[in-house]
Structures are given as structure tokens and as C-alpha cells.
Symmetry: C2
DNA sequence: TTTAGAATTAAAATGATTTCAAATTAAGAA
DNA sequence: TTCTTAATTTGAAATCATTTTAATTCTAAA
């Protein structure tokens, strides 16, 4: 948080209250919010804020590498994530939730380690795992027990 | 190709000329076309075909597991891929092209092999590799030699 | 051949995101 | 502090991929 503020100042990027509020919100909401999520959350405190500001700030933060836009979309919407370090994402096909996967095991793949494949220079890898999350798993088990 | 036709018939799905043409096109264009790509390609041969038909057929083929919709989007558009077998995708950040990664190495990750992680049941993994493709790499080298 | 259900069509609707021009704000200079 | 200019925000309109709709046209089975 602090380092972003400092960093942005060094880069000569203006720190408006709106931008501060958006950064603050993202810091405290690591559950991959959409632009709309951010907008709705800040609506009360900043009634005059425009959704266009949310989009432009998210774009700014993305361009400067503070946040990542996931390739995965929540019901057609882009969602965002603080890029603490390289991590992957798990998607629950039942409840639509996105869970961070901190496991390093994907990063140990030969391709990733070598940083290249068939002449392609590989910089980054984003893995999306699809399945059923533990919460939904438990629900399913309970249901089947009831029968 | 043949097996899809047979399969669809068995499933009681009507094989209209439009659907046949779309399947045929996808078979011959493995470069991850968008709905618009499909539509434009068939426009000449089927001038009356609607883009809505393209979308509904892609949806049908996806629902039946013949094609895969990538999470990655080409300039904001969904793109599709025959799912021969589980494979991953490389995205060139310079030329926007998407290249199939047949390498099995990602699938050998402990998470994927175990099929679970932290209580989540993992069914499938889609990896997106980002970087610079061999074509663009060569161009860059040539340029830097010219200097 | 008839007919009911399914698929196609063109147009309108939707909804996330982007663009725009006008109004406001930030920040450096005086 | 006040002035000034450039950057930012705003709200509304525009964009654009995709979906929906209702009417028309096909398909396939009887």
C-alpha cells in the first residue's frame, strides 16, 4: 500500500482522493473484484465518483503493474487482483468464486523454468484451474447423505 | 470431422447446412477464430447466414464438448478451438497470435495429477503462456542487427 | 404430403467498457 | 497565497460483442 503511493509519486502520477480510495479498496478486497464491485463499494463514500474513473484507475494500476486483470471473467466482467507475486487461479464451477492458488508447482514446469518453448520466449504463465471448491464439495456430500 | 457428424446425429441434433459449414470451417482453421471470423469467412458462401446462427452453433458445439472457448480474448472477443486433447495456449504480446502448446509438462504438476488442492476438486487446467513468439523474436533480432 | 418442433433470420436489446467534451482539481510558479 | 496550466473527473453518449426476440423457414418423422 504505502509503497504504491510512494511509487506513484515518484512516477509523477497524481494521487487523487478517488485513486487513493480505489487502491485502498483493492488492498482490502482480495476476492477479485470487478470494476462494478469497486464502484458500488465506493458509491456511498464518494457519491459523485464516476464509473469511468474506476475504469481509468484500474487501467492505470494495471499499466503500472500493481494489479493484474484476470483472463477469467466473472459473468462476462473483467476482474482484478493485486499482483503480490506470481500466482494462479482456481475457479469453482458451482459457485463462481475465484480462489488464489499460491502453489509454486506450476512454475516448476520445464517450459516455465526454461522460459522458452519452440522458439517462443515465455515470460509469464497464468494457470486457471477449474473444478469444485471445498465449500461446494461439502454441500454436495451433505446432500448425497440425506438421500 | 466425420465423428462429430455421426455423434451429433446420435444425439438427435439436427445437422443443418449452416452447422455443417461452421464445423467444416473450424476444422480447417485451427488458428482460434472468433465468432466474427467464422461469420465473415462463410458470408460469401452463405450470404443469408446470421451472426446469431454462428453464436448459437458455437454454443452448441461447446456444450457438446467439440470446441473450447478460450478464456483469453482476441481484442475483447471470445475465440474458439477444436479440443483435440487437453492443450494449453501461448499468446504473443507483439502480434496477438495464439499458439497451441501441446506440451504435457503442465499436466504433470502435482496439483493436476492429484486432482485436488486445499479441498478443491480440480478437474481441468488451462494454462496461458505470455511472451514473444518465434516470428516476432526473429524480427526483433534483425532490427537490432541493422543498428 | 403434412405437420409439429427445431433452427434460422434480422432486428432490437443488453451490458460491459470506452470515449467525449465540459467542469473540476492538482500542483508548480510567481 | 494566488494564478495558471495540465491532468483528472464527471455524466452522458457511443461502441461493440453478444444475446434475445418474434417471425419465418426448415427438418424430419408420421
Amino acid at each position: 500500500m504505502k509503497y504504491i503511493i510512494k511509487d506513484l509519486k515518484i512516477k509523477g502520477i497524481t494521487l487523487t482522493p478517488q485513486r487513493m480510495a480505489i487502491i485502498e479498496f483493492l488492498k482490502n478486497n482480495l476476492n477479485h473484484p470487478t470494476a462494478e464491485d469497486v464502484y458500488k463499494a465506493l458509491e456511498e463514500k464518494y457519491p459523485s465518483m464516476s464509473i469511468a474513473t474506476v475504469y481509468s484507475t484500474l487501467e492505470l494500476l494495471k499499466a503500472n503493474g500493481y494489479i493484474q486483470e484476470l483472463s477469467i471473467r466473472k459473468r462476462g466482467k473483467a476482474c482484478f487482483d493485486f499482483t503480490s507475486k506470481n500466482h494462479h487461479h482456481f475457479l469453482c464451477l458451482k459457485c463462481d468464486s475465484i480462489i488464489d492458488i499460491e502453489s509454486e508447482c506450476i512454475n516448476t514446469c520445464p517450459i516455465v523454468k526454461a522460459g522458452q518453448l519452440e522458439g517462443c520466449k515465455v515470460g509469464e504463465i497464468q494457470a486457471y484451474l477449474y473444478g469444485v471448491c471445498s465449500g461446494c464439495n461439502k454441500k454436495t456430500i451433505k446432500k448425497s447423505n440425506k438421500k
